[in-house]
Structures are given as C-alpha cells and as structure tokens.
C-alpha cells in the first residue's frame, strides 16, 4: 500500500495546482532546481519550467511581488523558507495584502506557505508559530492543517480562494505523519473545524501538530475512564466557533492547546469566544495551555518542555476534570 507523508501531500497539491491552473506559479528561496529547503517543491521546476522561480533572500519583495502578480491575474504560491522569516515580510502581508481588497475592491489571491513550529535543535529563529500574528489582522485567512489529507485539500483550497492565505504547515509533521491516501476521510472546507475524537467529559481544542499530542493525551486518559473530545480547528481564521461551542455544550469543560507563545493568540481567542457566548454551558473555568513565554530554545532538553507535551496536556486535562 502506498504511503504518503504530510510533505508529500504539500508537494502533490502544488503539483496538481500547477498542472490544473496556468495562473499558478511558485516563488521562493531555493524552490527551483534544489527543490526547496524541505523538498516541498522537488521536481516541480523540471516539470513546469518557468513557473517555479527562485527568489533572492528578500521576504518583503517576495510577498510584494506576489501582490503585484495577483493584481495582474496570477495565483502566486510563495514559499517562505521558515515561518519565522515571514516577519521580514510582515508589512507586505498585513498592510499591503491584508488591506488591499477593503481599500481598492481588488482581491489578492496569494497563498503564503509558512513552514512552522519546532523540531529539536532548530532554536529561536527556525521554530516559530506565526498564526496568531496574522489572524489578528483583517483580510487574511490563516489555515493550520494537521493531517495529510488536510495538508493536501487545504492547500488546493487556499490557492483557489480569492483572498490572501497564510498556510501554516508544521515541520514536525512533514515526514512523521503518514497516510495511505491524500484524500482520506471527510472533506471539509476552510473555516470548518473537525471533531477528531468524540468524548463527553471534556473538550480539548487544538490545531496543527498539537492535534496529535491532544489525541495521544485523550488515548491515555481513556485508559483511566475519561472520554475526552478533541476538536481540530483546521483554520484559525476563520475560526469555527460553532463546532467548538457544540462540543462544549456536550462536555461542559474546555481546554485549548496551542504551540504559540502564551500572551493572547488563538487559545485566548477560543476561550474568550466560548466564555462570551457560552458561559452557561461551562461547568468549570476554561483552560489554556501554550508554549512558554520565552524564545523557542535550541537544546532538545529545553525544547521538549517549551511546548505543550503529552505530560503537560494530560496534567492540564486532569486539572480541568477536577475543577
């Protein structure tokens, strides 16, 4: 049986987009002959000559270029080598791409791939999660696929959208996460969350790589008799509050997990919405679990406990169940 990884799905989606839509082209550092720092574009330049273009180390210019190309009718697909470096393009993303449709009525259909999140040894500048920053700004769609099939379908859908999309792909999942199909399971559009494990005692909301940590925690707690429901947000903007609320209505308890820094962010947004709209549904104060409030450390001993871990998630769920 064929086996596909998360990054295979990203490569295949890019291949299929290039094949099916002549408006699509790829621009980024080392994406051409080299095939990208993570090999997400391997072989694509040879198959689609002239449409997979190497860029200088100029994140601002890369996104600025994409905005211009989009205005002229193209569907640029930009690879930022590491999500962390998108801070250099911050201005073009939030002030140019994000404001353009509201200001001028002309949409900017660009997709920016952000290889996100930590892997051991990557350190402070190759490990960041940027989704909360971009979700804060108007006009930007932010997606965080957690599965092989979502990595495929959400990249296809991102490029098809007329709005700018930050596609946050998790580096830890690249080769670790495997599936026998890229289109397995129920298709959901951007903006819909998925209940990935049903339960009745508590709801754990997660996204990106943390979905898998949450599932492992739910599995462990099942051995103790707790039935934990796990919701994969899939996209953080738009945020599917309805699915989260429906789950909380069933369980009465909420823990939201994110790999980002703890001040504000997606976990705070989810908790704030549930408290504001569903206070009466809650049997206990909703909880958040995030990374620590320091830069992402380099050494594996530090890195492992900087982000939420199986242990810290289990502890947080126990705490929630006892509140």
């Amino acid at each position: 049986m064929a086996e596909f990884t998360y990054i295979d799905a990203i490569r295949q989606a890019q291949h299929d987009l290039l094949e099916q839509d002549e408006r699509v082209f790829i621009y980024g550092q080392d994406v051409g002959k080299f095939g990208g720092a993570f090999k997400a574009t391997q072989g694509l330049q040879a198959k689609f000559p002239g449409r997979v273009i190497d860029s200088p180390i100029s994140e601002d210019a890369m996104i600025g270029m994409a905005i211009g190309a989009a205005v002229e009718g193209m569907r640029p697909l930009i690879e930022v080598q590491f999500a962390d470096f998108s801070s250099v393009a911050f201005n073009q993303i939030v002030n140019h791409a994000g404001t353009h449709f509201y200001r001028t009525g002309v949409p900017i259909p660009i997709t920016v791939r952000l290889p996100s999140g930590g892997t051991p040894g990557s350190g402070p500048f190759h490990s960041q999660m940027m989704e909360a920053i971009y979700a804060h700004y108007p006009g930007l769609v932010v997606v965080t696929p957690a599965t092989v099939s979502d990595a495929y379908s959400m990249l296809i859908d991102s490029v098809k959208l007329d709005d700018p999309v930050l596609y946050c792909e998790h580096k830890f999942l690249y080769r670790w996460l495997k599936s026998d199909s890229m289109t397995k399971g129920e298709y959901l559009p951007i903006g819909k969350a998925r209940i990935v494990r049903a339960g009745k005692h508590a709801t754990v909301v997660a996204y990106s790589a943390m979905v898998h940590e949450a599932l492992r925690a739910a599995e462990r707690l099942a051995g103790e008799g707790w039935e934990v429901e796990v919701v994969d947000l899939r996209s953080v903007k738009p945020l599917d509050t309805d699915t989260v609320m429906a789950s909380v209505a069933r369980t009465g308890r909420l823990l939201v997990i994110g790999e980002s820094f703890p001040w504000g962010g997606v976990t705070a947004e989810v908790v704030s919405r549930v408290v504001a709209e569903g206070f009466h549904l809650l049997d206990a104060p909703p909880q958040r679990l995030n990374a620590r409030d320091t830069p992402v450390p380099y050494h594996p001993n530090l890195w492992e406990v900087h982000r939420p871990t199986l242990e810290s998630i289990c502890q947080a769920i126990h705490n929630l169940l006892n509140l």
Binding site: S58, A61, M65
Partner: protein, 344 residues
C-alpha cells in the same frame, strides 16, 4: 488638453513626438499645480479630513514619467508627491478630488484617503504608506505579464524619495527587479528632506545614482527643476526599459517646495537652499523652456491655466455635493470571498 500629433516623416515624427511629450508634460504640471493649490486651500479651510501632501517642486519629474507611459499598456505606481505624474498618466481628476474629500463615489469609497488611491486593475496601484512597498509590487505585475506572455513593450514604473530609498523594501525590491531584468523604471526624487530629515542624515554616499551600479541597473541623474532635461532623461530611461535594457534608476535632484504635508510649514528648510538652483520652481522653468522652444505660446499657457483652475473648481464643487460614506451602508468586508467576513 494638448492634441497628439500624427502623420509625419521619421525625423519630423521624432520632433513632433518630443514636442507632444513636452506639451503633455507641461500641461500635466499646470493641471497638478492647479489641483494642489486648491487642495491646500481646502485643507486650510478645514474641508479635508486627514492630511494633504503636495508635489510642489516635483511636477517636472513626476509628469515626465507619467507622460512617458501609456495607460492601458504600462504600469504606473505613483507615490506621495506624484499628482503631476498621475495627471499625465491619465488619472481622472475626480478620482483625486473624491478621495481627498471622502466621496463614497471615488475609487477608495472613503476607506482610504488623499494620495492613498489608485485603480490597481487598470495598472495604477494604490500606494500604502510604507515606503518602498510598491517597488516589488510593480515587479510582480511585470513578472505576471512575463508569465502570461504579454510583457513585450510594457514598462512598469514607480517613484520614491531619498528618504524612502533608506528602507529595506527599496533594497529588496530594486534588487529583485534587477535579478529578474524587468522593464522597470524607478524615479527617485531627492527632494532634500524626508519630512524634516536632511540628506546628510539620510544617506552617506556622495551621489545616490552611484547605487545603480551596485544593483546592476542603469543609472541616470537629472536636474529635477529642469523640465526639458526631465522629459529627455526620464523619457530615455522609459525607452531603455521598454527596449529590454532592464531596470532603470533615475535620480532627480530638486527641493520639496512645501512642507511634508500642509500641516507642516517646513521651517527647517534653510533659506540658502530655497535660494539655490535646486530650489527653483520647475513650473517657472518649464514655462520659459516651452516658450523658448516654440512648443506653446503665452496665450495658450494662460488658457491652460485658466481651464485647469476652472476644471478643478468644478470638480470640487461636484464632489462636495456627493454622498460621504455611511457606516450603516459600508459592508465592512475585508475579504473578497463571499461569507468569509461573516465567519471571522
């Protein structure tokens, strides 16, 4: 509006075409000055919400660029002091007055104001305030046309000041255009002050045009107060780009003859600089030049000035009667995708 000359022999055609270019440039300068003079008055009368940023002193440079480009074929991304370039390129006067006065009928519909306006789908992007951001955008518009097989004969141009040339976006954008060998023209108006910051605190090289060599692009330097020189040098830069000569950097030396905006009296600009050659008014010089060249007459210029002032007056009067944006009518949609904004 000056007529375009046609049906001439080659040499005569070149002469006629230069004459036409000079006339269109000077006409745009007059028209921009008429509009900006009115905008200044409206600002002082409290009729304009937000800032007013004038291009006084930069008209020859800006109009020379706009007049060298063809709307519908070329791309022009004007910056803050490019009213004359916008006019020469063919921006509707109403787009300017509507945006300044906040009419909902304007291209920005009250969602953005003053010089932050454009019609991107028609080859004229709407600037954001962050300097240098338009440089890669124009590069991307050109790259799109290359991918679409319709780049041939097209030029993309934008403007910047010496202050904006200090940004990372300027560097990244110009370098990218150079790497891609795009038909791109960047006109840098060295107007001596970035808000209140003089050139000595902005850059340390002797001549900004020397930077062209570092980027691997063609460099041109021009006296920005000299209209004929601007028409020729900027026209040549545009022609070079069109002919496949790659990016062109034009540095124009001049003085900003206003404050940064109308809220700023520019007290920090030394009188000696105002009285020097760089402080000359390009409109005065242009008028003298166009008369000496026999391209126009005093009578015609007077008529242009009068008709431009009248058109500006009429445009403002029209727009003042137009509806302002209504918060209950604005759809408050930052997303183009239907339903996306409702989901938030």
């Amino acid at each position: 509006m000056p007529d375009v000359q046609t049906n001439q022999s080659d040499a005569a055609c070149a002469d006629a075409s230069r004459k036409d270019l000079v006339r269109r440039t000077f006409y745009a300068m007059i028209r921009a000055r008429a509009l900006e003079s009115k905008l200044g008055s409206l600002y002082k009368a409290g009729q304009i919400v937000g800032g007013v940023y004038l291009g006084k002193g930069q008209e020859a440079v800006s109009a020379s660029l706009g007049a060298s480009l063809t709307k519908g074929r070329d791309i022009f991304a004007p910056l803050i002091r490019d009213q004359a370039g916008r006019t020469a390129f063919g921006e509707d006067l109403l787009d300017a007055t509507r945006t300044y006065l906040g009419s909902v009928l304007g291209p920005m519909r009250g969602r953005d104001g003053n010089i932050h306006r454009g019609r991107p789908a028609e080859g004229m992007p709407a600037m954001i305030s962050h300097l240098g951001a338009l440089i890669p955008m124009v590069g991307g518009m050109l790259m799109a046309r290359r991918l679409q097989g319709r780049l041939e004969g097209t030029v993309g141009a934008t403007c910047i000041g010496e202050g904006g040339s200090s940004t990372g976006a300027f560097h990244e954008g110009l370098n990218m255009a150079a790497v891609e060998k795009l038909p791109f023209v960047l006109v840098l108006a060295n107007n001596q002050f970035a808000y209140s910051t003089p050139t000595a605190e902005q850059f340390a090289c002797e001549h900004l045009v020397d930077r062209a060599k570092g980027y691997g692009v063609a460099g041109h330097e021009v006296d920005g107060t000299n209209m004929l020189e601007c028409v020729d040098v900027i026209g040549r830069a545009v022609a070079n780009a069109r002919a496949g000569g790659g990016p062109q950097l034009v540095v124009a030396n001049l003085l900003r003859l206003s404050g940064h905006g109308e809220h700023d009296d520019g007290f920090y600009v030394p009188d000696a600089l105002k009285d020097s050659e760089v402080g000359r008014d390009c409109l005065d010089i242009g008028e003298q030049q166009i008369l000496e060249a026999g391209f126009s007459t005093t009578k015609e210029i007077e008529e242009w000035k009068e008709s431009c002032a009248e058109e500006v007056q009429a445009s403002v009067a029209t727009v003042q009667q137009e509806p302002k944006p209504d918060p209950y009518q604005d759809d408050w949609r930052a997303f183009s995708t239907p339903g996306m904004s409702g989901l938030h």
